[in-house]
Every structure is written in C-alpha cells, then in structure tokens.
Amino acid sequence: MAEGKLQLAMYWAASCGGCDVAVLDVNEKILDIAAAADIRLWPIAMDFKYHDVEGWQDGEIDVCLFNGAVRNSEQAYLARLLRRKSRVMVAFGACASFGGIPGLANLHDRESIFQAVYGYTASTHNPEGTRPQTRLEVPEGTLTLPDFFDDVFALHQVVPVEYFVPGCPPTPKTIMTAIEAIVTGNLPPPGSVVGASTQSVCEECQREKSEKPVVAEYHRPQEVRVDPKRCLLEQGLTCMGSATRGGCGALCPAVNMPCRGCYGPMPRSLDMGADALAAMTTILEAADEETARNKTGRLADPLGTFYRFTLPVSMLRRAPKGPAVHS
C-alpha cells in the first residue's frame, strides 16, 4: 500500500456475524491491524450512517473486507457503493465468496420463502397474512425496508471482486495471512483466493487413511462412535475434506467432525457438489445395483451436504423459480 495508514472498511451483508467476530479472534494481532490501518467502516463496532460512506471520494478506501451474501436491495446498494469507494474489494468469508449457508435459500424463491415464513411454519401467527412492504407511509414520513430478492448472490455476482478469503468463518490464521498479504502488497493476481491453501483439507488432516479407502456404509455423525485416528470418510461420514480447499488446518476433522466444505471448491473444481458426489459414491462398496441404491440411500440430503456453502456459485446455481416441480 501507499504511504500512510491503510484505509480499511469492513461490512456485513447477509451473514451471521461470525466473520466479524472472527476478525476479533485474531486476538492481540488486532492491535497490529489497528496500527497498520485506519478502520473507516465497521458497523459491528462503530456507528456509521450511509451518508458517511456516500460522502467519501471514489477509491478513497484501500481495502474493503465485505462479508455476507447479497440477498436484498440494501446489501446490493452497499456492495456497489463500497465497490466504488474501494480500490480493492475482498469477499470475506464463505457467504461473500460463495453465497454460504444463506445461499441454500436458492432452492426456493421469494414467494415460497414468504409463504413459509409469513404463512405456514409452526411458529408463525399471522392471521392477517401480513407481508413485509418496502415502503410504508406514516404521518412522520415514509418508512422503507430493503427489497428481498429472489436469489442469494455471492459478492462477485454483484460487483467485481479482487480477492476471496474463504471460511465459515475464516480462521485467524487465514485472516492474518490475507491481511499481511494486503498490507505488504504481496498479492496474487486479482480473482485469487488468499489466506487459504491450493490443496485440499485432506492435505492438512492428520487422520490415517488406508491404502485404498473404501466406505462400507454412510452414517450421520450421531449414529456412530468415531475412531479418533482414522479418516472420517472411511468411517462412513460424509466428510467434504477431499473436495474442499484447505487452509483451515482441518479444524473440524481434528475434533471428530466431518469437514463441511466452508473453504469452498478446489482451485480446479468444475463444481464442488459434483466433486464430492463423485468421490463419496465411487468409493462406496457396492457390487450390484440394488446394493448401490440401498447404500447410497443412506447418504442423506446430498444437495445440502455437497453444496452447503456454495450453491449460488455452483453450475446450476439455484432451483427453477415459480411453482415447485415437486412437493
């Protein structure tokens, strides 16, 4: 970066807040960040108004760390606004990078989501059938709410993005690696993932694999007593590690939980779900069709498992809109 302190903005869109907390998780290194950067925007920590940001000059911000997916008009507005104000836009975390867990809403459209949320879920009490309005005139003036989109977008599907920092949330190590790269200007070509590995989670995982991994049967984690040493996939858990970019240090497998894929697809992946599907089913022991059908039937919720964080950036991206083709 140029002389002077790094001008840093951080923003959250459709996300859980975990990414912001993760930044705090770097512990005392936050001081190094504070020493190196002027934090110009960070809604979780400080109060800002739209006009503060609107008032900046274009390109005034060196780096914007944008976390969360884009699923409504306010988020899209701020994505565009911050894009304009920032020289480097970073999709920070799985939601901004790939759509993340909110992205699973792409199996539905706005209407069906509203039907559920304001209609028939068990906890809904809404006899008048009230739906959110984007504008409401009250004596004091006009109240507005952001417009809820049909789709959930990853940040780069809305505005151009220079770098991606994956993770749900990014680990402190990933964050520091990314920030150091940004501070030192030691950056890969735009469009790259920073702070993560080019290899899969398996590379970092300390579990033992057999010479020829095969799976006898798939189980859900609560159904089995996990051998703390052996590869989780071989034990029949739908571990996404082999199809997931590393860099996290294989934190989940280390505590007996199968990788869920939050660092996103491998660099050469065509489609993360296809990768995981092919790998997990190919090594399932089944010598005839009936066994194959029965055993694969134990692999619950394939779509949710294989695309837990990446649905909006997958090949098919979302389910068709309009009336569902199946119940």
Binding site: K49, Y50, H51, V70, S73, E74, A76, Y77, R80, N106, L107, G141, T142, L143, T144, P146, D147, F149, D151, F153, Q157, V158, L270, D271, G273, A274, D275, L277, A278, T281, T282, L284, A286, A287, D288, E289, A292, R293, K295, T296, G297, L299, D301, P302, L303, G304, F306, P312, S314, M315, L316, R317, R318, A319, P320, K321, G322, A324, V325, H326
Partner: protein, 152 residues
Amino acid sequence: MGDRFEPRIAVLCCNWCTYAGADLAGTSRMKYAPNVRLVRVMCSGRVDPAFVLRAFQDGADGVLIAGCHPGDCHYINGNHKTMRRFPVLQRMLRQWGIEEGRIRLEWISASEGDVFVRVVNEMTEAVRALGPLDWRTRAAMVVPETTHSPAE
C-alpha cells in the same frame, strides 16, 4: 414435426458398449428420435457428475448416461462407479427440482442396438411429456437494478 415440444437430450456414453450399440442401431438402419446427441467417453466411469450438471445448465432437457452392463465393463468395473454415483446424482437433481425422468442410467451393450433405440425413444417421449426444462430462463439469477434509497 409440428409445434410439439422437441426435447434435447444428451447421451453420455461409453465407447465400448453403448456407443457401439448406437453404431449397431445405425448399421441395422433402425430409426429413432433425432432428439439425442451423443458425447462419447471411453467408460461410463468417466462421466463426471459435473458433465450432467453442465448439460442441464446449457439447456439440455434430459441426460442419459449409458454404459456396459455390470459385469461386462471393458474396464472391468468402471461402470460400477457409475452405478454407485447415479442414485445420488438422481436424488440430488430432484432436490434441484429436476424430475427423475430427465436423468436416466441404462446399460446398453454393443449388441443391443434395439435396446438403444427403445431407450432413446422412450426417454424422448418421457422428457417430452415433462416439457422443457429451460434451465437458463427458469433458474436465471439477475441482480435487480437496486432502487434502494436509504432513508434515515
């Protein structure tokens, strides 16, 4: 052909059995629906699930994966891998909203030109009955031009 819907069906098939079976249908001058387009790989085990996704994404209305009968694979058991992948792929596509009838796995040997013809015709009719998938339109993601004007 009139106005009826003509589905477009991708056939991802192995070189040794199904492609040869389709060749046999040809040398036997059997006739079948012109709605299929074959993409040849050496073994049905080479059919990456991503190929299927891409075909749908591109606009295919149906995808047929076809290979040697289990036990007859030219590569011993490459087709067993297909056999294991397929049920999950089909279920997953169902979750996407792609009906089961649009994705099919068939074992068609080099000597089963007639089976190839039957499968292609059946599938053409079945997909025709399901109507266009039209993925690009129906699953399009376009960011609305935001009219959002933040009010204080």
